[in-house]
Symmetry: C2
Subunit: 128 residues, 2 copies
DNA sequence: CTATTCTTTCCAGTTACTGGAAGGTCAAGA
DNA sequence: TCTTGACCTTCCAGTAACTGGAAAGAATAG
């Protein structure tokens, strides 16, 4: 199966699939003509990565997950650990954004937002 | 004032200050010896950028904000527009993260996280 | 006068692709 | 058979915003 078909089946751009091959994430063998030769298992792995990425896992995390995916005798605890690690990271990021949002919102509220030059937002950013 | 002192006064790493000079964000003149020569206004601008970055504004947004900061006759509406644009972006990102978090959390809950191989997380990622 | 601390430039790496150029391969149609 | 077009290949560059490090010149303290 050529890269175009594999990418199509996995719902990923060809460029991305090629990239995953370059970084040895999902690296199929080559056919005689030099073309990458994907099989059904490769497509499954590509789809797996695609879904993992959609959940916000980094490529490094995808690599670990893929290893566990391939390992029939993994402990589900190992998978869950990665997931919870990721959940914690999501929580932290959300908390950071919420703080930022709240502070910026409070400052923005003070600004009239008219044609006048006086601007509490600028003042705050300037350290007033 | 040399870059080290300016960076110190602005609370930024020297590397970052040099980077800002490279991209013409805060670009001081050069002294005879070739050293960048910062004055008090430059330090203020650096601090301004530092605070803006801390609020999550991109460097591109900082550039716009800096222009407005420098313009005594700006309309506060222009500043507020950037701030609200940024608030909207923050809201969107937070919503995305919240969705991700909820979905992943729901899936993770199904996983026992023990020594067994059966793992609903993997199953979900595999598209089951 | 020297040792240390600055400063300079430039190159590379980070994350996860994405776009584009130049060129090889293959299947179908005239 | 020839050609056209769709596909494949590699490699280079760019994205965002730095950060680390190397090599070399400048300044300063003792």
């Amino acid at each position: 199966m050529k890269i175009g078909d594999a990418a199509n089946a996995a719902g990923l751009p060809v460029k991305t699939v090629r990239y995953y091959a370059d970084i040895d994430l999902v690296a199929p063998p080559r056919a005689d003509n030099g073309y990458r030769d994907y099989d059904a298992a490769d497509v499954k792995r590509l789809s797996f990565v695609g879904r993992s990425r959609a959940f916000g896992f980094s490529v490094a995390e995808c690599r670990r997950l893929l290893t566990l995916y391939d390992d029939d005798s993994r402990a589900s605890a190992d998978v869950k650990a990665i997931a919870e690690e990721h959940l914690a990271a999501l929580d932290q990021k959300m908390a950071e954004l919420a703080t930022l949002r709240a502070e910026l919102s409070a400052i923005a509220k003070e600004c009239k937002g008219d044609a006048g030059a006086r601007c509490p937002i600028i003042d705050h950013l300037a350290g007033a």
